[in-house]
Amino acid sequence: MTFTEADISAIWLTLRLATTVTLLLLVIGTPIAWWLARTRSFWKAPVAAIVALPLVLPPTVLGFYLLIVMGPSGFIGQITHSLGLGTLPFTFWGLVIASVFYSMPFVVQPIQNSMEAIGTRPLEAAATLRAGPLDSFFTVVIPLAKPGFITASILGFAHTVGEFGIVLMIGGNIPDETRVISVQIYDHVEALEFSQAHSLSGAMVIFSFSVLLCLYWFQRKHSAFTPRAIHSSAKD
């Protein structure tokens, strides 16, 4: 298994992209997951549906709209332009934004699930122990939802590594900027460089398999260790 210099640079770019996207998604996705887990608002279902859209939409659809919005005459494009940032499509950060949308459900849903599993009792207990909402969020909710955060990070990272369609739509194929592994493999195949394609594809299979294996091992270990503080709140 040998990698060309271009392969290595594609691998680094992919890792950089996936790390950035995962970190951003943990910051953005956590409050969304918390809101979805707690709210009884009418807007819960519509927001949950929007978050889940990338699961069913073809990446080309999402990519197409993002391209328009981020383009020179699009809403975001005009903002970035007036800020002197130019336009985002076909840049690394354009790719980051697209990936944040595209990987959102893989991060929000596991966090939301584990937050819902905590139930209300630990929060009530925290409130009777003088912990305000923010205090109990950081000292009770996040520690108890830890398995969800770990699952979310793994899935968010792995899913970003595996993107292809949206990268082509938004990022194109610019070395060191947007040419990630999946695009690099596509290039190799187009150029009939099958042995190179084999190396990278094989690496991707091994990577993805290992990640999923770790994930399932982790989940098995923690299914016996999910928050014990869940009790039906017996109304008397």
Binding site: P122, A125, A127, T128, R130, G132, L144, A229, K235, D236
Partner: protein
């Protein structure tokens, strides 16, 4: 906290109206307006579904009643324009089932409270709380490694460490077996006398109430059926639901004599004297005794030829029905206190019991509740 506490306002006022429209229950309404003493132990007693827990949750600010008023010893926590959120109310709460944080050890749970306590927690208090609850050896354990009783004791210690001005206990013993209950009850008694704060606890066990409470609130279907001192409430025979075999009065007295020959103690109360088995209490120690109505029989003359030790001259003040159709409840005045006898209706007719009649109450057994 609205106003500064003043010592001459030692009372708690709680008024709540709340409608629950659960899909499972047909709809439940809590409607209470009571004033409770601002010190000592108050028991909220009632059958399950009577709204006990909901009342406690309202006091804690965990429910959202359509109308709520709560003041404690001069502080207003809730009225039409004020709603102090739970985390800003100076209360400690022990939930019916363990509510320890599963990601923290027992010690971690205690420290969670210690860090957020209303006042700095002295090492003495910290050790006292651990000591009272007897949890020294399990501090390093996680909640899932503890038994139900151990978890509950940690939860009570945790609530003490917050140094609240009001301690709320929701059936703290419900999840425990009999032996464990007997073990924790003395701790709770000590709690009442060691901590100078009012304690409100919810229970459906008459034994627990008779043993712990100074003041009692009886709830039925979301409304207050009776409230008053323990002695008053337990001597009523007109409550709409009977206590059944557990009907009985509680009397407060003090040890006035100890008879080492027969291993008996004489308990003096304002209505007379009772002989009980000597538990080793000191002379003049105040004790609380419980006389069950089923253990009281009546005679028209003082019957000397009987094994019964305790006979009290009494006057019939009330005759009422029992939940059992064959039985009657007779309320008797002994000195300034009351006792209740549970007789068959046939005996009532046979003895021609009428209001004001003088009888001899023969008491088969007296239990010391505390």
């Amino acid at each position: 906290m609205q106003s500064t506490p003043s010592t001459d306002e030692k009372s708690i006022h709680a008024a709540f109206q709340l409608n629950h429209h659960n899909d499972k229950s047909k709809g439940f309404t809590l409607d209470v307006d009571i004033t409770l003493p601002g010190k000592g132990i108050t028991a909220v007693f009632g059958h399950s579904g009577s709204g006990k827990t909901t009342l406690l949750r309202c006091i804690a600010g965990l429910e959202n009643p359509s109308h709520g008023h709560f003041t404690i010893n001069g502080d207003t926590w809730q009225n039409d324009s004020i709603f102090i959120p739970t985390h800003k109310r100076s209360l400690g709460y022990v939930f019916q089932e363990a509510s320890l944080f599963s990601h923290l050890t027992a010690e971690g749970n205690l420290n969670y409270a210690r860090k957020r306590s209303d006042k700095r927690v002295s090492t003495d208090l910290y050790n006292l709380a651990i000591d009272i609850m007897g949890i020294q050896d399990i501090l390093q354990h996680y909640p899932h490694q503890l038994s139900g009783g151990e978890r509950q004791r940690v939860a009570i210690a945790r609530a003490i460490l917050i140094q609240p001005r009001l301690l709320l206990l929701d059936e703290p013993l419900a999840s425990l077996d009999h032996a464990r209950k007997q073990e924790i009850l003395p701790y709770l008694e000590r709690l009442g006398s060691t901590l100078d704060i009012p304690i409100v606890f919810v229970s459906h066990s008459i034994d627990e109430v008779a043993r712990l409470a100074d003041y009692t609130v009886v709830l039925n279907k979301g409304s207050v059926m009776a409230h008053g001192t323990l002695t008053d409430v337990f001597s009523r025979i007109d409550l709409p639901f009977g206590f059944g075999d557990d009907t009985g009065v509680v009397l407060q007295g003090e040890v006035s004599e100890r008879d080492p020959e027969w291993h008996l103690s004489r308990i003096a109360f304002s209505g007379g004297e009772l002989w009980v088995r000597d538990r080793g209490d000191d002379l003049h120690q105040s004790v609380r005794v419980r006389i069950l109505a089923k253990d009281v029989s009546l005679a028209l003359t003082p019957n000397e030829n009987s094994s019964i030790l305790n006979k009290l001259e009494a006057q019939v003040t009330d005759i009422g029905p029992d939940s059992d159709e064959a039985m009657s409840l007779i309320r008797l005045k002994v000195g300034s206190e009351y006792i209740i006898a549970r007789l068959t209706r046939r005996s009532v007719a046979h003895l021609e019991l009428t209001l004001g009649k003088t009888v001899w109450a023969q008491i088969k057994s007296v239990a010391i509740a505390r």
